[in-house]
């Protein structure tokens, strides 16, 4: 299976500050990828590099096998919904569809109109007068109507109320089910993403901390609680991700492919949010391997 995104040592800086550094990722096709991290971690930077809105300062990136933003065919294969869904406020929905049709040879007018009707949007209404949820749905329609192979969404549900958020994700999943597009969507909240994502990338402080298939990640990470242990007391194939100790008790989040057999530990499964939190507090390894990748 080809990768939708391949980054190698990718970096981007503004002045002296690196917004993204040493990013190495291979994201397989056919997944709904959640890009998680606190604000300022570099999620928007990574997405904008992927779509050709930014130029890398270090390393390289290839999207669907090509350089982002370089040719009309490359641009046609990637759909993008920016944060805060910028709109031409004075343009009506109908005008906006017209714009999409003229600027994209692969535009599917029937699909766009069907979705607009399904959403119940008045095609004459100016974009500036739409509600947040409607704008998000319109932006999704516009990105989807050109039939891209990859959809990139930057914090699409951040400002939506729970109902609008649910409706947006329903619409997005419908698109994936029908057209088979790969999706990368970012959020600073894990809860937004865990319903729909099957692949996870965790970005903290401009670096990738974790990347992998969610089922495999959850299967290979465990929460160990038990009497006070030193972390070095653990066998080598059990990697400690995060730990907390009281004078009597230790809690560790551990990555291990084999089952944990030590009876002094109580072993539990983690939920996705806890897993992400464990990696957010995990210090980057001294040998500069910036992430732990679960290979499929």
């Amino acid at each position: 299976m080809t990768a939708v995104l391949e980054a190698s040592g990718l970096g981007k800086r503004y002045g002296h500050k690196w917004a993204l550094s040493e990013c190495t990722l291979v994201i397989p096709a056919g997944k709904v990828v959640g890009l998680v991290g606190p604000n300022g971690a570099g999620k928007t930077t990574l997405l904008e590099l992927s779509v050709g809105l930014l130029r890398p300062d270090a390393g390289s990136i290839a999207v669907l096998g090509g350089q982002p933003g370089t040719s009309p065919s490359q641009l046609a294969r990637v759909g993008f919904v920016a944060q805060e869904t910028p709109t031409y406020a004075g343009m009506s929905t109908r005008d906006r569809l017209w714009l999409g049709a003229r600027m994209n040879p692969s535009w599917d007018e029937a699909l766009a109109e069907a979705r607009i009707e399904q959403l119940g949007l008045d095609s004459r209404q100016k974009a500036g007068k739409l509600s947040g949820g409607q704008r998000a749905q319109l932006a999704l329609t516009l990105a989807v109507a050109k039939r891209p192979e990859l959809l990139l969404l930057d914090e699409p549900v951040a400002r939506l109320d729970p109902l609008a958020r649910r409706e947006f994700l329903q619409g997005l999943m419908e698109v994936v089910a029908e057209h088979g597009a790969s999706v990368i969507l970012s959020s600073h909240l894990v809860a937004d993403l865990e319903r729909v994502c099957d692949y996870l990338v965790v970005l903290v402080d401009s670096r990738v901390r974790l990347a992998g298939d969610i089922d495999e990640l959850l299967a290979s990470h465990h929460l160990l609680t038990g009497p006070r242990h030193d972390r070095d007391a653990l066998p080598h194939d059990q990697q400690v991700i995060s730990e907390s100790h009281t004078d009597k008790q230790s809690s560790l989040v551990v990555r291990a492919d084999d089952p944990i057999l030590d009876p002094s530990w109580s072993v539990e499964q983690l939920d996705l949010e806890d897993l992400v939190l464990a990696y957010m507090s995990h210090e980057v390894e001294a040998d500069r391997r910036p992430k732990l990748e679960v290979r499929s």
Binding site: G171, M173, E174, V196, D198
Partner: protein, 130 residues
């Protein structure tokens, strides 16, 4: 047509929940042979989950021999889990309701009712009655 729901807190994997809900429906006679399961698109449009989850669930159901996919048409039930005992469901439901009324009047809360029921269920099945 069956509608699915996702319980995030149950600790059960989403695809397993779908499998369970289908089996549940089959047992209770809500789904019968030759009934069509909702398409993947229909499922994700109501329950915002990854289409692959639905596909995985349907594959599992196929593996269990409960459903079969007809290409270009949909996924259909081929075996039911309810048996002739379905007819007995009506009166059993009725009895159960009365028992529950009694239990509540006796002051049992939901948790106690469940605990009592489970205890009796297990102890009787351990004795080979089922």
């Amino acid at each position: 047509m069956i509608e699915f729901h996702l319980n995030k807190r149950s600790g059960v994997a989403p695809y397993q929940q779908i499998v369970q809900q289908v089996r549940h429906a089959l047992r209770l006679g809500f789904l019968d042979v030759d009934d069509q399961l909702p398409t993947v698109k229909e499922v994700v449009a109501t329950v915002a989950i990854n289409p692959n989850t639905v596909l995985k669930a349907y594959k599992e159901l196929e593996h269990l021999g409960l459903v079969a996919a007809r290409p270009g048409v949909g996924t259909f039930v081929i075996r039911t889990l309810s048996d002739d005992s379905l007819a007995a469901h009506g009166p059993l439901r009725h009895d159960l309701k009365r028992w529950l009324e009694k239990a509540r009047q006796a002051g049992l809360d939901e948790e106690s009712i469940e605990a009592l029921f489970r205890d009796v269920l297990w102890s009787t099945s351990a004795q080979g009655v089922a």
